[in-house]
């Protein structure tokens, strides 16, 4: 479904603050798989997601979604294939538009937009039905501004919005990181429900190793712009957080060894 090959991306090349965010990142995700992605700060997690969604154009490498090469396509041209939930609850919705207007925008993701009314009665029926599954009473607040909702509520609506229109891949960028533990759990449960219900191919970046092992079918660890660990199936089931930490330390240690070689 998704095939990323040898992605390279350098920020501010040729300047003192040059950063190599992606260094030969490669990852293949078959249809229907739920992949969790972990890695330390600066490992290239968000950059990788941005490269897939088209917000960042890579310097080299190729990205194929559903067999189509999208490497050079701008965000809006791949929007019909890529659904996304951002880390910041404010980022995924328009705060001065109403709930139903936001949902209408998402229902039209990647579609031709005409001069028909954006919110029609048959849509409201759909929106109410979907909002009802949240159990937050939002189905009675369709015409409320989405800015009036709490961060957790907005993130839950963002998830619904991402699943209103079929997508080839769903990208979740630490979408529970900005929420309190209880709300985070609610949003995570909702994520698993929605992904299972629609059989979505999903890539979820997370900062929690526990989450990375418990959720989904495959865990990928990134370090310095490439994949350093890729586990699934029985191997993954046998892993616990300390094992993951050990592996993480080992990768870091090798990096230190490399540096000492350079410095000597």
């Amino acid at each position: 479904m998704l095939s990323a090959q040898n992605l390279e991306l350098t920020f501010n090349p040729g300047t003192p603050i040059e950063t190599q965010a992606l260094r030969g990142m490669s990852l293949d995700i078959p249809a229907g798989q739920f992949v969790t992605v972990i890695g330390s700060n600066g490992a290239g997690k968000s950059t990788f997601l941005n490269a897939i969604s088209g917000e960042q154009t890579v310097d080299a490498g190729s990205i194929l979604i559903d067999g189509e090469d999208v490497t050079r396509q701008p965000v809006w041209d791949r929007a019909h294939k890529v659904a996304r939930v951002f880390q910041d609850p404010m980022a995924g919705t328009c705060e001065n538009l109403t709930i139903e207007e936001n949902m209408s925008l998402a229902l039209g993701r990647g579609q031709f937009r005409s001069l028909r009314l954006a919110v029609r009665e048959e849509m409201r029926v759909l929106f109410r039905e979907r909002l009802a599954m949240l159990g937050l009473g939002l189905e009675r607040r369709l015409t409320d501004r989405i800015g009036l909702l709490s961060g957790g509520q907005r993130q839950a609506v963002s998830l619904l919005m991402a699943s209103l229109r079929p997508s080839r891949i769903l990208l979740l960028d630490e979408h529970t990181a900005a929420l309190d533990p209880r709300t985070a759990k609610f949003v995570l449960d909702l994520t698993e429900r929605i992904v299972a219900e629609h059989g979505l191919t999903t890539m979820m970046v997370t900062h929690s190793m526990r989450q990375a092992l418990d959720v989904g079918d495959r865990t990928v660890m990134l370090h310095q712009g490439r994949v350093v660990l890729d586990v699934s199936g029985d191997v993954r089931r046998g892993l616990d957080v300390p094992d993951l930490l050990t592996m993480f330390e080992r990768v870091r240690g090798e990096e230190l060894a490399d540096d000492s070689l350079l410095l000597s």
Binding site: E55, P74, V75, A79, L97, L105, R109, Q111, L115, V119
Partner: protein, 296 residues
Amino acid sequence: MSVYSLWGSLEIGLIFGLVALGVLISFRVLNFPDLTVDGSFPLGGAAAAILIHHGYDPFVATGIGTLAAGFAGVITGWLNVRLKIMDLLASILMMIALYSINLRVMDAPNVPLITESTVFTVLQPAGLHDYVARPLILLVLVVVVKLALDWFFATQVGLAMRSTGSNPRMARSQGIRTGNMVLLGMGISNALCGLAGALFAQSQGGADISMGIGTIVIGLAAVIIGESILPSRRLAITTLAVVIGAVLYRFFVALALNADFVGLKAQDLNLVTAVLVTVALVIPLIKQRLRRKRVE
């Protein structure tokens, strides 16, 4: 204040209501601080006046003036979207470019329209004074424009434009070509200002190169006054509010200039504008303080 000057301020107020609607689109909907208005308003006036002067139908002339101004707005948007020039700077560049263009269009600093037929003389119903007919004609037009905008912003394209101004990153991730939305919005915004300029020239007896000075401030004043007397999150209410704001603004100005005991003269117009805008900006703050005091 005489009845005559009352009708007069209603007339000009309604014309600037169109400017206010345009400014609402650029400043509020698109979040694009656009000063092109100071050039596109006189461009609409200049194009319409010179065409009428050369014997064109006043409706055709008004239409061409409107389109020309809309095109100017699209260029401002293009400078920003494609050439990555900062929004405010792009609009200032377009504004000063239009000063020269307007002089070229008129081929003189002004084009008088005294005996020529205008949209107002053509539409004027028999048995009504012209100073009453003009505001009534304008009222119908402004209401039609307001309703058309309300409808547009409720459509899929209109909603896409609003999301572009509100959260461009989210808009793009929903597949909206935000750059095109800016061009379209800037076109509509400046077309409305051009339409206002074309009507202003026909109502005030001609186009003048200096007729655009301060248009953006008046438009903003109308938006700010409107928003503070009729605050609402609903766009359909805000479009009404800014038109009322424009009319009220002209009434205040007429009142200030006509009240002899104040001692203001016509040349104090821009100072009065600045004071009015300041007052309108401060009103929400005072309201907030009063509310806090009441709570205590």
